[in-house]
Structures are given as C-alpha cells and as structure tokens.
Amino acid sequence: MIYTASPIAIALFVFFVLIVLGLSSYFARQATSSGGFYAAGGTIHWAVNGIAFAGDYLSAASFLGICGMIATVGYDGFLYSIGYLAGWVVALFVVAEPLKRLGKYTFADALDAKFNSKGIQLMAAISALVVSICYLIPQMVGAGALVTPLLGLPHWLGVVIVGGIVIFIVATAGMTSTTYVQFLKGGLLIIFSTILVFMVLNKGLMKTPDEKYHKFQTISVAAMKDGKIAEISDKSYSVITQTEVDGLQFVKLTKDNIPTWWKLTTKDGNNKLEETLSYVITADGKTLYNGEAKEKKKFYSVGHMQKIIMDGKEVEKTGKLSVFSFFSVIENSTVIRFTKKIFFLGKDKVTLWYQNPTAGTRLMRPGVKFKIDKGATFMDKLNFISLMLALFFGTAALPHVLIRYYTVPSQRCARKSTIVAIGAIGFFYILTLYMGFGAMVGGVLDVQSSNMSAPLLAKSFGTILFAIISAIAFATVLGTVSGLIVAASGAVAHDIMDQFLGMEMSDAQKVRYGKISAFIVGILAIILGILFKGMNVSFLVGWAFAVAASANLPAILMLLFWKKTTAPGITASIFVGMIAALGIILTGPDMFAGPYGLTRADAFHPLGQPGIISIPLAFITLVIVSLMTQKGKAVESSEAQA
C-alpha cells in the first residue's frame, strides 16, 4: 500500500518517545545496584506489575500479528489469542509463586537454586538468550513495518530508531523504567483498543465500507475460443495475454496504455473478468502498482462484504451492532477476501491479489489457515495440536515474562500481578476478534502487510485515532524489546559472566556489564531486525514459544514437582528440548518454503511446529538422566525448598 506520513501521527509519536525517554532518565538513579537493574529492587506494586506484564506480553505479535492474521484468515488468528492467554494459566497456577520463592534476577537462578550446577547455569543462560533473540527479531521487524506508514521512513531506519531508543532505555535504567514504560503502554493499548472496538460496533457492517472505497470492476466476456478469451464487452480494454496459475485463469488487459490484471470466473455458464490488485516488477526493474507508478496511488486498501444477511434478510448495511450480533451477522454473510498469487510472465514478476468470496461460516471457525478440515492429513492435524501445545506451555517459560516475578516484593504480589495480567490480557484478546474482523470487512487492509490491519482500522475512524494507536503500537515494540533485552543481558552478564564463569565483580561492575550486554544484544537485534525484513511476525514468535516450551518448561515443572530431579537431568533436558525444537523448525517445511526459498516438499520432514515432539522429548530426557544420576542429589521437593 502507499502511505503518506501524517504530521499529527509524527507529533504524537515524538511525544510518546519523549515520555518514554523521560521516564528512563527519571528512573535511572534507581538502577545503581544489580537488584535495581535486573529486578527493579523488588519494589514494584503488584497492580503496576500486572499491567506491565500485559504490556510485556501484548507485543507486536499480539497487537499487530494476531489482528492482522484474523483480518486475513479469520478465526484461525484467534487461536493464537486463546493459546497465548491459556499459557498464563500455567504461569499462575504452577509457576508464579514457586519461582518467586526460588529466584533472584533470572529464571536460571530459580532452576539452579539448590544445585549450584555449572551445567544448569550455562544451559539456562543459553536457552534464555536463544528464546529472547527469537522473540526480539519479530519485534524489530514489526517496528520497521510500523515506522514506514507512520513516519514515511524506510524499514531499516525504523529498526535502527527502535534499537537506539531501547538501548538507551535499558542501558540507563534497566527494569524499573522498562516496567513503567510497559505499564503506561499496556494500559493505553487496552483503553484505545476498547474505544476502537466500540467504534467498529457503532458503525456496523456495510457492503461499501466508505465512499472512498474502490469499486472493483467486472467485465463480461462476450466470446471464448478454446478456453481463451476472444472478445470482451468493454471495448475500451484490449486483451494482452491469458495465463493459468494453479488452475486459475488470469488475464492481462490494457486501457490507455495502463496494464491491469483480471481473474476469469465462470458462473452459470457466464464468463466474466474480475479486477485484481497487482504488483509487478518488470524485467527492467520498474515496479508497477495496478499498472502505474507508486505515486499515482492506484494500489487500494481492500476488504469488504459481498452479501450481508441480518435477521434472515439481505441488507446493504446493518447499522449499530451488539457484541453478539457482530459475529452472527458475519457468520451468515459472505466476505470478500483477497488471496495472493505469485507467478512470472516472461521476465516480469507478477504478484496479484484476487477477490475470493468466502462464507462467513468458514471464517468464524478454524480451518482457513490451519488445515484441520476436509482433506487434512494426519501431519496437518499433528501440526495444529503441536502449535496449541507450544502456545499453552510457552508463556510460563518465556524469560522476559519470568523475570517480572522478581520485581514484586512477595509471593502474594506475584500471584496478584499474574491475575491482573490475565484479566488485562484476556480482555485485550477478546477485543482482537472484533478488531480483526472489523479490519477484514472495513476496507482498510494492506494486502502487502497484514501486520498493519489494526492501525489501519483505526485510520478509517480518523487520523488522530490512527496516530494514537500507531504511537501506542510503537511503544508496544519499544517496551517489549526493552524487557527482552533486560532478560538477554541478564543471561549474559549475570548467568554466564557472574555465575558460570565466576568472574569477581563488584555490584557496580555487574550493572556496568549488564548495560554493556544490553548494548551488544541491542545491536544484534537491530542487525537481525533488518535481515529478517518481510518475515511473518507471528511465525517468528511461534519459534520463541516452541523453544521456550521445549527447553525451559519441562525443567521448571519437574524441578518444582518431581523429587528425583537432578542437576544433570535439568541440564540435559534444556539442551535436548532446545536443540530438538530448533532442529525441527530449521529442517521443517515452513523454513524451506520461506527463508530458504525452496519448496515445502524439499523439507526433511513435514512437521512445521516442533512442540509435540520436542516437549515430551525434553520431559523424557529429564526423567531418564535424573534416574541415572541419583547419588543423593535429588531435590527434596519444591515446597520443602521454600
């Protein structure tokens, strides 16, 4: 899509960034000790920590990724909301309080609380680092994607700006400022998302989202010969060529020397051409948006309803809808989605998005993205179960979530802040279904980047709301990246340098090395954020969850609840879980079809989501190795330790 930077959006963005930097400077003086830097001195109020949890958790993947996925594939995107939230149940009921009792600054401390094992220290630190970096990449990619429409800057510059600001935040004040940034952002995100959903319901649904929405043309085919178009009814167009892609017929027409692409459809024996959106890179390197230069702004935002059924009758628009009727109307109606096809015509690379009428019943249940419906194979279903498993068990094992338990003064506060987080996050995730479907039919979708669906939905209600939502989304990235960098720097400076290598350091030196680590991790995040441009944000976050669930959670759970757990058992479990999860992902079909530029069939195996293999494998490894290495090193019991 073609974006124009808005002065209000820029002003609000600068305002937010200044608030964030001001908070960091204000709290900088509290970060003079390692306790202050990594755990905010354990002084954060539980309610503030709870909303900060929500701020940490509602990252680019949630606000940008989930809303975008729902906007393009419907209910399947909401599965992430359900899985991400359900994961908090594990955190609350199983992990929160025991972890608070055992740990100091990082979750490696908790795992190693009774063993003083070099193996645990190293493996837990590496695992925290790997998971944090897996989580950092999509945040940085999201930052770049956000800055382009907001400020009109290129992707790489967006990543550098985010990285620079975050390094400043973390390196000056550590966990305290990170917490307050997250609190501010988490609260604002929920408030303004609620306002946005209220506006969506108030507006209702309509076939033409607004008067500026592009009216997609249809041309009748007057005559066909041997499956090819011989004549069309609109003589102002000339037929240039016709090509078949995956069983679909696409036709290139010209009018006034402007080439456009159309899809040939046949209904009741009548042939017609439907307008598509096209993006063509020509052999001589030119890029054409619907046949014209970018500046002509002919590449439209899309997404509308073809047929609206309300109370059993077809209507043009519904008027105001309730929180229930919004979904029932969509379910009974038909939505026009835009489906992507890429092919080569000679040396021209053609990417087009054609209109794909989809029944609401199909969109309001799983199956559009995840193949679990008719025709699904055993492996397709296994992939789905594996994803739901990783989402459920991943949350309670994410290092940047776990470290937040050390910022509150007591176990009771750890529990209460988790409940505040569940309430806030759960409420937000319910809103994602409204925002996602609102964007799907609101004529706001950018076919080139689903990540911008929620901010663009806000834009349809006015520039100010767009500016506020975009600024909050940017702060979302800033806050989450800050928390991740604190977690990663803790893994390097505290777990590896201090604990594993046993380097003699004063408290001030620990803070200094923590800040240096934050700087290095921040630079690494900037580089990776630029390299991974264009990769799906949710796809990358899925990695982080799978690796965390496989490497960390079996170790945490067994340490807490199995008396025979030993240090070698934990070390081996983290190692096997992490390697198995990464190995399955890197050799799986999603990597081959995506970053490797090959096909899914080239992959070593058909499993895209590793959790169903790697999580049980980590548990089994821990049990076997622990049983083999008893020798009186068993943990008495989690509760006896406390």
Partner: protein, 104 residues
C-alpha cells in the same frame, strides 16, 4: 553464590496447600483446553454449531476459555489469600515467625 530471592521473603506455611490447589486448577483448565483442541482436530465442523446469543461454538468456546482463566484466577486468589492469612497467622502466633505475603 548469590542464589535466592530478589527480596527477603518470610516463611510461607501455606505454600504446600496453595500448590495443591494450583495443580487442581491447572489440571481442570488443561481438560477444558484439551477439549477445545480435540474438537477442532477431530470434528472442526462442530465448531460451527449455533449456541447462545447467535454465537457459534468456536467463538463461545474461545471466549469461554479466556473468561474461565480470569474467573479461576480470581477464585484461586481468594482461596490462597484466605489460606495464607489463616495458616501464616497461626504459625506467627505459635512460632513468632515473620509471615509471607503481607507486603503489597
């Protein structure tokens, strides 16, 4: 070594009981969550079934899982707080130990 809590914590005499309640809640939620995954995997079309307020089973079950987590969390907190207050107060009276959970 510098392991141990970030702040000084008192003795929590209610820890064992809270752990058992937490595990019970966790298993209960696991069963409900598994039901969602199983229906989606084995019979995805069942999710289109109409339920209350014009919502299909997919939306109702999805919202239900989120709301259930919030409600269970609140109930769990009330139970745990009561247990902490009663067990730690008793222990404080008999042993003179500093109880956990007071600072908020």
């Amino acid at each position: 070594m510098q392991h141990g809590p970030a702040v000084k914590l008192g003795v929590d005499h209610a820890a064992e009981k809270k752990t058992k309640i937490g595990l019970f809640c966790f298993i209960f939620y696991c069963i409900v969550y598994s039901g969602f995954v199983i229906i989606n995997t084995l019979s995805p079309t069942t999710m289109s079934m109409q339920t209350f307020f014009g919502l299909n089973l997919a939306v109702l079950y999805g919202f239900g899982l989120i709301i259930l987590a919030i409600v269970m969390g609140l109930i769990y907190n009330i139970i745990c707080t009561n247990i902490e207050d009663s067990m730690n107060k008793d222990a404080e009276a008999t042993e003179g130990q500093e109880p956990e959970g007071g600072a908020e």
